[in-house]
């Protein structure tokens, strides 16, 4: 080719390139991409500017919810064909994202805890519950008072998701950025994937939406599959938690293991797909209450479901989301006064109690038009104005009636409610109390929920830094495993039991047996009404069949010629069962009437007990020639002390653990116990110089209860405080004012903090007793006032009549 030809060709290429640049520049500058691209191009390229415009398109005014027959896309933005081999789970980011901007949604209240600067009124914290170490630790990324930042406890997003992912709606800590997710040494994000914001957790109208399935998938570390499984879109098998840390979703099924380390996979419900591989989502806008209640249920502990009260708004057919509204940004209206000023969203003023029912704020300033959703205008007849200025509406209208004091409730997130299956997920702890009336920063009193924290900590300067439960458990060694050891013994002895027969331990009046979860169940052996006390009964190991308790080793004479052969068979079975106990201090032995039985090469061997075992009887361990009881006195003492209570620690255990934590190896080479403490029931427990456990105050408010406001359930008017008159609260012995509650916690102790209702409300106890007394005379006072007003009014009336009469000349002046 000639030089001229090459030059001409280069010129042609340059012109073509210039034309192309000009074309695309024009295309991008002249309105929607759809004007240039083929129909549907905007849908095919959701990340383009045109796509973003589509997502931000204002509502067209139609009040219906569009049918969501849409193609599922995976986390690589690839179309999911349900009949493919080993398809990926769907991704909300790429399935919902084309129409609902995912990044905008991610900024919503349910997902922004780690990044938000404006956190508003305190809400319910996440409570890290670890019964073994007696930890009840309120956590929150939102830096609410009384809560601990997970970062202070060195909890990374992976740890947080593992602890609380069961009730997280995906996103937030369950979907960290790559810069956070992958450097973590303990994290397995590459195996589990991230749990994207789960739109369907709230918006799925289908009855297949299963929050229990979500929790199970999170527990199995199947994070990227959890939404698919929970929504019932497909069936998910396998467990990422069992896979090697190098496994990646691109590796596909684990060909080496089809039984244990099975890789997660999804099998879609193909019946819900059309021929174009579009899936029909039955979408709820706004979300259904049941989806909210999956994570936001609160119920009194002692209530039966059939008789449990319902929020009056719900009873009227109002859905949660009709007041707790949001736009695409999912900045949920929380509904407290002051929210509008804090967030800048003036519409929030309409959704407070006062805004909706009165249309005004606490000062009586008219803000909005009341009556939204048909909210009735409250009469509040005869209630002095001070109540409206000093109390939140919820004091009289929300929560359980405080006629008997505080009510213990369980909440979804604190007590792991709403997760059903073979295993028991819900817990009795932590003990959440309501309604606890407290004064807020603005000087107004409102109802709160309250939890007493409990945790191990070390002091650093003037601050208290909690220790992770794992750290404590490692340092504590066997001190915290008394129940485990006794349960392991009973489980082993069960092997020697016949059909429908269970091994039991009787100690200090309590009968222990193993439950289905491997824990210990305790029942009082001697009922107090029968004249016994729990400490009366001696310790013994036995079996229980049909309610009849028999000794573990029957009493027989080994030297007798006509001894029952079944007795020695039972002894052999017992010894064989005890031999299976892991970590036993020595070989098992049974002593019956100065005869010691042992297992020797698989056979029962009997011999005369040596003189030093003269006092021994029953089953035990041979340790260095000595006969040691099956369970140590410490174990028996500890489990018996806690039996029948919710407590998981004794003072003896706390003292031992504090010593263990203070050991140089536990403290990184530094000894000393002065800066270690355990907090429970509002008190801090430390070891003094003599090694005795002492309780006292914790630095700052570390031992103080954490509280957060409650708003629901709202009671009907007739169940509100004040409906029966002033004496609903104002009496000399009112539960509202004079309830005193003691701190609760995992530690079995008498040293607990007490709080009176008046101290929490920061009102005068003496004044309210005197004020309450005055209500006994109030009817007389009203009568007296009425008489004086009428009598004086009559004098005034006569005066006016006389003056008018004299001025008019109708009444002559008397001489």
């Amino acid at each position: 080719m000639s030089t001229a030809g090459r030059t001409a060709r280069r010129a042609a290429r340059a012109l073509t390139a210039l034309a192309a640049v000009a074309f695309f520049a024009l295309a991008s500058a002249s309105g929607p991409a759809g004007a240039w691209a083929a129909p549907g191009a905007a849908w095919a390229a959701p990340a383009s500017g045109a796509g973003a415009d589509l997502k931000q398109k204002p509502w067209d005014g139609n009040r219906t919810t569009p049918a969501h027959l849409i193609p599922l896309r995976d986390e690589n933005d690839q179309l999911i064909v349900p009949t493919d081999v080993d398809p990926m789970p769907f991704s909300a980011r790429y399935t919902c994202g084309p129409c609902h901007d995912y990044k905008t949604v991610q900024g919503g209240w349910h997902w922004n805890a780690m990044k938000s600067e404006k956190n508003g009124r305190p809400g319910e914290p996440w409570i890290w519950l670890d019964p073994r170490t007696g930890t009840v630790l309120p956590l929150s990324y939102r830096r609410w008072p009384g809560t601990w930042d997970p970062k202070v406890l060195r909890l990374n997003p992976w740890d947080f998701t593992a602890l609380f992912g069961r009730h997280l709606p995906g996103g937030g800590p369950a979907e960290p950025g790559d810069e956070v997710a992958f450097p973590g040494a303990d994290s397995r994000w590459n195996v589990s994937g991230k749990a994207e914001a789960n739109c369907l957790a709230c918006h799925n109208k289908s009855g297949r939406q299963d929050e229990s399935e979500w929790a199970k998938q999170v527990l199995r570390q199947n994070l990227r599959w959890a939404a698919t499984a929970a929504a019932g879109v497909g069936e998910v098998g396998g467990m990422a938690s069992r896979l090697h840390e190098t496994w990646d979703v691109a590796d596909g099924p684990n060909l080496d293991d089809h039984e244990w380390a099975v890789a997660p996979s999804v099998k879609y419900r193909t019946v819900d797909f059309d021929s174009k591989h579009r899936y029909f989502f039955d979408i709820a806008y706004p979300p259904e209450d049941r989806n909210c209640l999956a994570c936001h249920s609160v119920s009194p502990v002692k209530d039966a479901r059939a008789t449990s009260p319902v929020d009056v708004h719900t009873a009227r057919g109002i859905k949660c989301a009709e007041c707790h509204r949001n736009g695409l940004g999912h900045a949920i209206t929380r509904g407290y006064e002051g929210e509008a000023a804090e967030t800048g969203d003036r519409t929030a003023e309409s959704f407070t109690c006062r805004g909706c029912h009165l249309g005004e704020d606490a000062s009586g300033t008219r803000l909005v038009m009341p009556g939204r959703l048909g909210a009735p205008y409250p009469k509040h007849t005869g209630i002095p104005l001070v109540h409206f200025r000093r109390l939140e509406c919820t004091v009289c209208h929300s929560g359980p009636v405080p006629d008997k004091g505080w009510t213990r409730v369980r909440t979804s997130r604190a007590n792991r409610l709403g997760i059903y299956g073979v295993a028991q997920w819900s817990t009795d702890q932590p003990a959440v109390m309501e309604p606890v009336f407290m004064r807020d920063g603005g000087g107004r009193i409102g109802p709160r929920r309250l939890v007493w924290p409990a945790f191990w900590a070390r002091t650093e300067g003037k601050s208290v830094v909690p220790l992770q439960p794992g750290e404590v458990e490692t340092a504590a060694g066997d001190v915290l495993k008394c129940e485990d050891r006794v349960a392991a013994l009973l489980a082993a002895l069960a092997q020697a039991c016949g059909e429908n027969e269970f091994a039991v331990l009787g100690a200090r009046g309590w009968l222990f047996e193993v439950n289905v979860d491997g824990g210990l169940d305790a029942a009082a052996m001697v009922a107090p009404e029968q004249g016994g006390t729990p400490n009366d009964a001696p310790l013994f190991w036995g079996t229980k069949k049909d309610g009849v308790i028999s000794p573990l080793v029957p009493d027989f004479d080994p030297a007798a010629q006509d001894k029952d052969p079944a007795a020695e068979t039972k002894v052999q079975a017992t010894l064989e069962a005890l031999a299976t106990v892991a970590g036993a201090p020595g070989p098992p032995a049974v002593v019956v009437r100065k005869t010691i039985y042992r297992m020797a090469e698989g056979n029962l061997a009997a011999a005369e007990a040596p003189a030093e075992l003269a006092g021994a009887a029953g089953a035990g361990w041979l340790v260095g020639g000595k006969f040691v009881p099956l369970a140590s006195d410490f174990d028996v003492r500890t489990v018996a002390a806690k039996a029948g209570t919710e407590r998981t620690l004794t003072e003896e255990q706390v003292g031992l653990v504090l010593k263990a934590l203070a050991a140089p190896e536990a403290k990184g080479g530094q000894g000393g116990t002065s800066d270690l403490l355990y907090v429970s029931g509002g008190r801090a427990f430390r070891l003094d110089k003599a090694g005795r456990l002492k309780s006292g105050e914790a630095a700052g408010d570390a031992a103080a209860p954490v509280t957060w406001p409650l708003a629901h359930n709202v009671r009907p008017v007739q169940q509100s405080l004040g409906w029966n008159g002033c004496t609903d609260c104002h009496t000399a012995d009112s539960k509202f004012f004079f309830k005193t509650a003691s701190g609760t916690g995992p530690l079995l102790t008498k040293s607990v903090a007490t709080k009176s209702a008046t101290s929490l409300m920061r009102v005068g106890s003496l004044f309210h007793r005197v004020f309450g007394l005055t209500f006994a005379f109030r009817p007389f006072f009203k009568l007296l006032l009425a008489v004086t007003v009428i009598a004086t009014g009559a004098v005034l009336a006569v005066f006016l009549v006389v003056v008018a009469g004299k001025l008019a000349g109708l009444i002559e002046k008397r001489s």
Partner: protein, 231 residues
């Protein structure tokens, strides 16, 4: 607004009563039609009086002052009736207005309880006073005789002295006191809604303000006015 109006009204009443004394001490000012000159003289007079008012009383001076009240010389029942009336009203006014003006939260706590009890005592005493002493404050029409010459007619005034003002404010005090008590009674009855309670509270406050102003005027005109010995 109530606080501002209260402060202005109390100040105006005080200054007005002081002006009356000023006119009493400076009769020449009565004929002066130059208001600026009158105001200047009045201000000067006030300035000379204020140091005297702020002077520390002699030991036992307050007690002597209280003992000098005419009420102690009345018959037993009347003495204690009026003492209770004055005492309860003094506490009501002091606690109510002090808290409204100076305490952001208003009246609360034990002062409020005492306020309510004082209110009951005040209402009882006011009723008894109305029945026992109201007759003394009735108006008796007097015949008017117009002067015959034109100059006298120009200077003619309806005869209305301090005693008449005292009678008028007595009835105003009585009416305002009853009004305040009635507002409080109605607020305690389960008849009125939130807005009704707001109105009743305002009603109570304004009635209390009127009664306080009337009481101040009455005290100046009647209680602390020089009386003939026969009285």
């Amino acid at each position: 607004m109530f606080v501002v109006v209260s402060l202005l009204a109390l100040a105006a009443t005080g200054l007005g009563l002081a002006f009356r004394r000023f006119r009493h001490h400076h009769p020449s000012s009565e004929g002066n039609i130059l208001y600026a000159a009158v105001a200047r003289d009045y201000t000067k007079w006030l300035a000379t009086r204020i140091p005297g008012a702020l002077k520390k009383p002699a030991p036992g001076g307050w007690a002597a002052w209280v003992k000098s009240f005419r009420v102690w010389r009345l018959p037993l029942f009347e003495k204690w009736l009026l003492a209770c009336l004055y005492g309860s009203f003094a506490y009501l006014a002091a606690s109510g207005f002090f808290c409204v003006i100076f305490v952001p939260r208003g009246l609360y706590g034990f002062p409020l309880v005492l306020h309510v009890f004082a209110g009951a005592i005040f209402a009882i005493c006011l009723t008894l006073v109305a029945y026992l002493r109201a007759r003394r404050f009735t108006f008796e029409p007097r015949p008017l005789a117009l002067p015959g010459d034109l100059e006298s007619v120009r200077r003619f005034r309806i005869p209305w002295g301090p005693r008449d003002w005292a009678k008028l404010v007595f009835w105003v005090f009585l009416a305002a006191g009853v009004s305040a008590a009635a507002a409080e009674l109605l607020a305690m009855l389960p008849w009125f809604h939130y807005q009704g309670e707001v109105i009743l509270l305002d009603w109570h406050r304004w009635s209390a303000l009127v009664s306080l102003l009337a009481a101040i005027v009455f005290a100046d005109l009647e209680l602390f006015a020089p009386r003939p010995e026969a009285e």
